[in-house]
Symmetry: C2
Subunit: 142 residues, 2 copies
């Protein structure tokens, strides 16, 4: 709990660093990314410092994404967007090591296809099955 | 509830279309995307047919992302990935109109930077504040 020295998202959550806040709850704050993919790109972060989604306590996961869902609806409604992209980077490509969910307004034909293209293929059904088994065997215990 | 005719994810959830399943719960199924961004790319979908995250009933949001979190841990642990990318397309770029959460294994330097680059900038703090206000004003009622 509480802020981590030098963490900009902890500072924003505490109000020590100004940011355009779009909404908040007791445990969460939503503010504009200052380098948006598209204008209106929001970041939703827990006020408490955790690094990844896996570090967030299970009881906090539901409230985070219920709020993310409300933010996505507000981005769509408030900006007249055609849709939204909701994304979390866990470790790789995570610019700030404080969990944050991106909510990006989307418009058909906006050019944001980079992530989903190009795709690859499995060499065979057997190769796919092998990947599935490796993942299935690694589920965390309850 | 139940399957929608012609929906491939409903068919996978029902077991009518084979897919490499990596895990499931009563309400959710996780299976390999057949055109992965990287091999081991998993899709997590509710068994019931809803189109977007906004269409998912609030009580189902927490269980979905608690399971997504477990899938992300399994993808990371099972494949020795350096991290994961968790993403939802709502409407725009949504290839199948049945809610699904992408869980993509990531490795530093894997080249998946397209989405987060290039970024744009707000012309001024006032422009950013205007965007924040438009979004803040559009939050759905409780």
């Amino acid at each position: 709990m509480g802020g981590v020295t030098g963490c900009v998202f902890c500072a924003i959550a505490a109000g020590d660093v100004p940011a355009p806040v779009v909404g908040s709850t007791d445990g969460l704050v939503a503010f504009l990314d200052n380098r948006p993919v598209f204008k209106g790109h929001v970041l939703v972060a827990p006020r408490s410092h955790v690094v990844t989604l896996m570090d967030l306590p299970a009881p906090s996961v539901g409230p985070l994404f219920v709020f993310v869902r409300a933010v996505a609806a507000a981005v769509e409604g408030g900006l007249g967007a055609g849709g939204t992209f909701v994304a979390v980077n866990n470790k790789v490509s995570q610019s700030v090591p404080h969990l944050h969910v991106h909510v990006v307004p989307r418009t058909k034909g906006d050019g944001l296809r980079g992530f989903f293209w190009p795709r690859t293929k499995y060499a065979s059904d057997e190769e796919a099955a092998t990947y599935a088994r490796r993942i299935a065997a690694a589920f965390p215990g309850d």
